[in-house]
């Protein structure tokens, strides 16, 4: 049965994974990147591979074992990753499924399958790790909310059609109890997106300025002032389900390329072999951890944090080693194929990019705090 599914996906990949996308997508414009991503998403959708983790009634329904096989084969065939749709198919969908109304689900889940792009509007200049300190306000005016404020580090904001927005609806309440969760149309009047150029040389991060943006009451997710609880669901997904694909990608693509890079550079000495063996052990552990977490086996209260911490620090070390092995040539590579994963084989850029991982979605310090307090039951840090 398992072998049949392997064969089925393998055969599909052989026929459908674009053969030369690494060349044609290297350093392309944002518009071309978006076009290519949409095209690839629809190709996957045609086979039922776009949203395998969604419930069957919305177009998914794969078992965890099947998802693992799918991700393994996609990685092994060097398929493009779904970068543009990442927030849409994971965070937006998880939020809608967990806390959205039936009308919201009907409106957005099919639209996401048709290519609707989402961005997360959580962080702010003064509210990063301390997300609950956010200052963007949403003031009720009849059957609308009027939103004012600024969001920061909204990855892929320039492509987004919709935004998962957290805003303060009660400034008097304790900070976690005065936040509401909204679905915001990015085409609304008063929304302005400014890309920020980052160290890798792209403008993936964005600032979003919100001036008197009107959001209909129907776009509130969950009860008013209960946005913090809804957000926890979303971040939980980012730390959970997404890691399954990333771990399989790392094991079946990134690590394989690292081994090839070592061979290409003639780095076959015992030190290199030791390091590679160590990485393989860690990746195997990571893959097992992700699988067990998503399957719900032996689920601990801090598993998602353990996985994120493990993956992000491993990715930094692995891409750092890649940059070291690839040597000076890696420094001359100033573009990487858009649509590639966190380990694209452009090792220096991958290494710099990997630093991003220990910061967003709960910085490593926050993950450690969660592991200590919820996982180990240690007391909270005195304030």
């Amino acid at each position: 049965m398992t072998e049949d599914f392997h064969r089925q996906v393998r055969s599909w990949c052989e026929q459908h994974v674009p053969k030369n996308w690494r060349q044609t997508q290297n350093g392309v414009s944002e518009a071309e990147f978006a076009r290519f991503q949409q095209e690839w998403f629809q190709t996957l959708r045609g086979a039922g591979y776009a949203v395998p983790h969604w419930p069957a009634e919305w177009g998914g329904g794969m078992s965890v074992d099947q998802q693992v096989i799918l991700y393994q084969e996609l990685a092994a065939h060097d398929a493009p990753r779904l970068v543009l749709q990442f927030v849409s198919i994971h965070h937006a969908a998880a939020t809608l499924l967990a806390a959205g109304t039936e009308e919201q689900r009907q409106r957005h889940l099919p639209a996401i399958l048709d290519g609707e792009i989402w961005v997360q509007g959580f962080s702010e200049p003064e509210a990063g790790s301390d997300l609950a300190a956010l200052r963007t306000t949403a003031r009720r005016e009849g059957d609308h909310f009027v939103v004012n404020g600024q969001k920061l580090w909204a990855s892929g904001g320039m492509h987004a059609d919709w935004c998962l927005l957290l805003a303060r609806t009660d400034s008097e309440a304790p900070k976690r109890k005065g936040i509401s969760y909204f679905l915001m149309d990015m085409r609304s009047d008063g929304v302005e997106v400014r890309p920020i150029r980052n160290a890798v040389g792209d403008s993936h991060f964005c600032e979003i300025f919100l001036n008197d943006v009107r959001i209909p009451e129907a776009n509130l997710v969950g009860p008013e002032n209960a946005g913090w609880q809804v957000a926890q669901e979303t971040l939980g997904t980012e730390r959970g389900m997404t890691m399954l694909e990333l771990a399989e990608r790392l094991g079946n693509a990134g690590f394989r390329w690292l081994v090839q890079e070592c061979e290409r550079q003639g780095a076959t000495d015992s030190r290199t072999r030791d390091t590679l063996a160590q990485f393989e052990i860690e990746i195997t552990g990571l893959r097992g951890l992700c699988r067990s977490m998503v399957s719900g086996q032996a689920h601990g209260p801090a598993d998602a944090s353990i996985v994120k911490l493990f993956y992000s620090e491993l990715l930094q070390r692995l891409t750092g080693f890649g940059a070291e092995i690839a040597g000076l040539d890696a420094h001359a590579v100033l573009t990487k194929p858009q649509s590639s994963g966190w380990e694209s084989g452009a090792w220096m850029l991958d290494f710099i990019g990997s630093w991003e991982w220990t910061i967003p979605g709960g910085a490593s310090e926050i993950q450690r705090t969660i592991i200590a307090e919820r996982g180990l039951g240690l007391p909270r840090e005195p304030q």
Binding site: S129, A199, R271, G320, G327, L334, A363, E365
Partner: protein, 302 residues
């Protein structure tokens, strides 16, 4: 053995730092990146004002220490000029600077005027012509063989760039401390969290250990010790390891802003790369050192 820098050298380093700051400070590297051809004109007047290029670090310990202090200050401001490489020039060649090269000769001297020499780890010297500069002013070098007399030049040419890197680590920690002292989350400045303090202390332990080793290597060079090259390679290895820890911590504590060119750390970290990768990265440096010292080890502090 005296591994303290003289008061004069320390004061000279301070003067240099003030001069770099007055001439533009953090803007210098940004100006040079915007117009790489201008960087010679940008930095030469500052160096002239400091009498930097008249220093002869190979002549005596005083000038050696002054050169080290100058390099450290240049690193602190990410000065876009190979100051350390200029000061490493051999006494018996008519050149403006010396770079250490490995198999693929490259150095951050792209777009600069002057005559340059290169020396490899076996002591082979060449004249070097830089090609078109790429990222961070690194250029491929075309080498023309000169002689085999470079073994005596190596230790200093490996050591002074480490002093530049040390200055960059000083700055990275200063920037991170300033950032966490201002940035508030959870109702208090980040600096109040012990987990933040511990990360900075890990960085500081690395940085201060490197500083001691850097002074020890100066002493080894000044006293013309036989194993000065081994000491310099050991220093370089320690510097690369320390840089990894310090930049990891300082980036992490800056959060996402540390990746954006609005922050000085982003520039500093990018321009630390040539120093950390050239002539050899960490594992290649370790490989060379272990082959050289075998089971004999370093003489160390007697």
């Amino acid at each position: 053995m005296n591994i303290e820098l003289s008061d004069e050298a320390i004061e000279y380093g301070h003067q240099a730092s003030r001069a770099f700051e007055a001439a533009g400070g953090d803007d210098l590297v940004q100006q040079a990146q915007a117009d790489p051809q201008s960087r010679g004109e940008l930095i030469t007047p500052i160096l002239d004002g400091l009498g930097a290029l008249d220093l002869e670090p190979r002549a005596d310990a005083d000038q050696l220490e002054a050169a080290a202090a100058l390099c450290r200050s240049a690193g602190y401001w990410a000065v876009p000029d190979p100051v350390a490489e200029r000061l490493s020039r051999p006494t018996d060649l008519e050149v403006d600077g010396l770079v250490v090269v490995a198999q693929r000769p490259r150095a951050a001297i792209g777009g600069l005027a002057g005559r340059w020499a290169a020396v490899d780890l076996d002591g082979r010297r060449s004249s070097a012509t830089a090609g078109k500069p790429k990222a961070a002013f690194v250029a491929d070098l075309e080498l023309t063989h000169l002689d085999e007399q470079g073994a005596k030049d190596l230790a200093l040419a490996l050591t002074l760039p480490v002093w530049t890197l040390l200055g960059m680590l000083d700055r990275a920690l200063d920037l991170a401390i300033a950032h966490v002292s201002i940035r508030k989350q959870f109702g208090q400045t980040l600096s109040g969290f012990q987990s933040v303090q511990f990360q900075l202390t890990d960085g500081e332990v690395e940085r201060s250990g490197l500083e001691m080793l850097a002074r020890h290597t100066l002493w080894s060079i000044a006293t013309d010790r036989r194993d000065a090259v081994d000491d310099a390679l050991a220093l370089r290895m320690a510097a690369l390891e320390a840089a990894e820890v310090v930049f990891r911590v300082t980036h992490q504590l800056h959060g996402a802003s540390g990746f954006c060119d609005e922050t000085t750390l982003s520039w500093l970290s990018r321009y630390s790369q040539p120093l950390r990768r050239l002539p050899l990265g960490l594992s290649a440096t370790r490989d060379v050192l272990t082959r050289r010292i075998g089971t004999a080890g370093l003489a160390g502090i007697s």
